[in-house]
């Protein structure tokens, strides 16, 4: 039995009186794509924030390579090899591709008595890394990030994470804002990252996209893990039903519960 690269055991998170995550346990392995399939409000984004060091879990254990870890900051998480790519990829719209690729880790060279940012090398590396992910339209690292398409920005952000040696890549709805062709390209890039042995956590509510690249699936509903299964164990219809139906069932139960607490334990009358 191999030790999972990232292992969550009994993670709980509450903001004041509100429980956002309840008893989440997950294994993420090297060279595997874990898909988190959930509707809005299922707790996906809170889970990402815990993994990427933005929030701390209220309780529970997070382990990397079998050793317990705790992240104080996003920087701390990225030092542990966890890279998060958000929906719109690169956020520095008005920076050049080469500059934004190396933000915080600029290559430098000596120029007489001065140490200067090696823009030429930064541009070359950025363009090369993007080309490796199949983005061949980009040939000039001086161009601005804001001029890239949504898929290209995702590719830039993923290329950056891969270049800086991320071992866990968290992709937060990378395909949600993309057209069909661009989404397909991003999915290919996800598989490419998987082949490099990176553990990918792919957050989406698109079942088709998830089934295309996923090895392992988890469905959070209302902060709890409602299902956890491997590729081939469930059909697309079953997963869709699980996501939608499970959500609605939970909603209905919550409604009945609140009705009962308000009305001294009486269930709601039908047609009353």
């Amino acid at each position: 039995m191999t030790i999972p690269l990232l292992k969550l055991t009994g993670i709980n998170k509450s903001f004041g009186p509100i429980d956002v995550l309840r008893d989440i346990s997950l294994d993420v392995n090297r060279g595997e794509v874990l898909c988190l399939l959930g509707d809005n409000g299922a707790g996906k984004s809170t889970l990402i924030k815990i993994l990427s060091g933005v929030h701390k879990a209220t309780s529970g254990v997070m382990e990397m390579d079998g050793k317990p870890v705790s992240f104080d900051s996003p920087r701390d998480a990225s030092d542990h090899g966890i890279a998060t790519v958000h929906q719109f990829g690169g956020t520095f719209q008005l920076m050049s591709i080469g500059r934004s690729f190396f933000v915080g880790a600029e290559p430098t060279k000596r120029w007489g008595p001065l140490v200067i940012f090696d823009r030429k090398r930064a541009n070359e590396i950025a363009v090369r890394e993007m080309r490796q992910l199949g983005i061949t339209r980009i040939d000039d690292g001086n161009r601005l990030v804001g001029g890239l398409s949504g898929g290209e920005r995702q590719a830039l952000a993923i290329a950056r994470a891969v270049h800086f040696g991320a071992s866990v890549l968290i992709l937060d709805e990378p395909t949600a804002a993309l057209g069909v062709k661009e989404a397909a390209h991003v999915l290919r890039i996800v598989l490419q990252a998987r082949q490099k042995g990176i553990a990918v956590i792919f957050i989406t509510h698109n079942v088709v996209h998830a089934l295309t690249v996923g090895d392992h699936f988890a469905v959070p509903i209302r902060g709890s893990k409602a299902a956890d299964f491997r590729k081939g164990e469930k059909s697309r219809e079953e997963i869709t039903d699980l996501m939608a139906g499970g959500e609605q069932m939970a909603e209905l139960e919550a409604e009945i519960e609140s009705y009962m607490t308000k009305h001294e334990g009486h269930p709601p009358r039908v047609g009353g």
Binding site: R75, S78, M95, V115, F117, T136, R137, I138, R188
Partner: protein, 356 residues
């Protein structure tokens, strides 16, 4: 793996890279952020050359706007860096007279050596900048409000202390020939020495923004401060350092004015608040941060100064200068937006060419 072959870049798509020439194309020149300010400067220069005649184009005419540009430029450059990093600094308007008064009170009123007054002024600039920076990062109040508060606080402090210490709002300062030569004199009877300091600061700020890695940090912080911090940039320290830079430069202008005019007034320098912002914005810096260049700031500064001084060489009443500056500011911003959007359109031309 089916994806393996699909991911290989096709031959056709690679081709344009090899054939791309080494020279910047006309398109890439037009996409430079400074393009708007270049056009603006040419326009006002031509305008005042026509209406200002030979006097405007004479050495004296050039000195007139260059002197204004030098003082404004020394302040506009660090203010521009701050704006690229997403912050404003209005307090320079009080920092200039506060620094003038400091050097005049210490070295003029109390007869301390000039070097003591100069160092005290510069030190005050650094302290005010540090306080500005600290307030901005700690309170999370927009820097417009924070520096508006320090603008007033510092003005009040300068007035109050000047009255207590000297009983006057204006203090004379006599400085030796060396201090005069270095900080406040006219070269050839026309050009202020601050011109050379301006050039030096252009070089320093140019190095910081374009060549050093800190330039990348400044652009990143202005673009998205949360992502920048997550990428490991010490955003708080960077912000404080930038405010200290603008405090230092404003103090420098203040003390050199006191040495140049042999006196200091409590209420000088308020014009720098908006003039520096105008120079920076005309120069193509995005008010909300994340975009801008040193060349642009220099061009914006010169453009402003040409309009401000050029009006005196025309037959028009000088009261119209502000009207021209107002219109110029609007035109420049609209034009800069256009050029910025052009920079954002990533040439689809390479793509369509290979397809055809």
């Amino acid at each position: 793996m089916k994806s393996e072959t699909a991911m290989q870049p096709s031959e056709a798509a690679i081709a344009p890279l090899a054939s791309r020439s080494q020279w910047p194309s006309f398109g890439s020149l037009v996409r430079r952020p400074e393009m708007g300010s270049v056009i603006g400067l040419i326009a006002v220069f031509v305008f005042f050359s026509i209406f200002g005649g030979e006097d405007f184009l004479s050495v004296g005419g050039a000195a007139s706007w260059l002197n204004v540009a030098a003082e404004l430029g020394i302040i506009a450059l660090p203010v521009g860096l701050l704006m690229i990093a997403g912050q404003l600094d209005l307090s320079v308007g009080s920092m200039v007279p506060a620094s003038s008064m400091t050097v005049a009170i210490i070295s003029g009123h109390f007869h301390a050596p000039i070097i003591v007054g100069v160092l005290a002024s510069l030190g005050l600039g650094l302290v005010v900048g540090f306080v500005n920076g600290l307030l901005v990062i700690r309170t999370r109040v927009p820097s417009f409000v924070v520096t508006l508060a320090t603008l007033f606080a510092l003005a009040g402090l300068t007035l109050g202390l000047s009255i207590i210490l000297t009983g006057s709002t204006s203090v004379a300062l006599k400085s030796g020939p060396i201090a005069k030569l270095l900080l406040g004199d006219y070269i050839g009877g026309k050009f202020e020495v601050t011109l050379f300091w301006w050039i030096a600061i252009v070089a320093i700020v140019g190095y910081i923004l374009n060549l050093s890695r800190y330039g990348n940090w400044i652009l990143a912080v202005g673009g998205d401060s949360v992502s920048a911090r997550n990428a490991g940039i010490p955003t708080d320290r960077l912000t404080i350092a930038l405010y200290m830079g603008s405090g230092l430069c404003a103090a420098f202008v203040g003390l050199s004015q006191a040495i140049l005019y042999n006196s200091a007034q409590v209420a000088a320098g308020q014009s720098f608040i908006f003039n520096s912002i105008i120079a920076v914005v005309v120069g193509g810096v995005l008010l909300t941060g994340g975009y801008g260049s040193v060349v642009g700031i220099v061009l914006g500064t010169v453009t402003f100064s040409v309009v401000n001084q050029g009006i005196f060489y025309t037959g028009f009443n000088a009261n119209w200068a502000s009207l021209i500056i107002g219109i110029l500011l609007l035109l420049a911003v609209v034009m800069n937006n256009t050029f910025r959007n052009m920079a954002l359109t990533y040439a689809a031309r390479t793509k369509t060419r290979t397809r055809s």
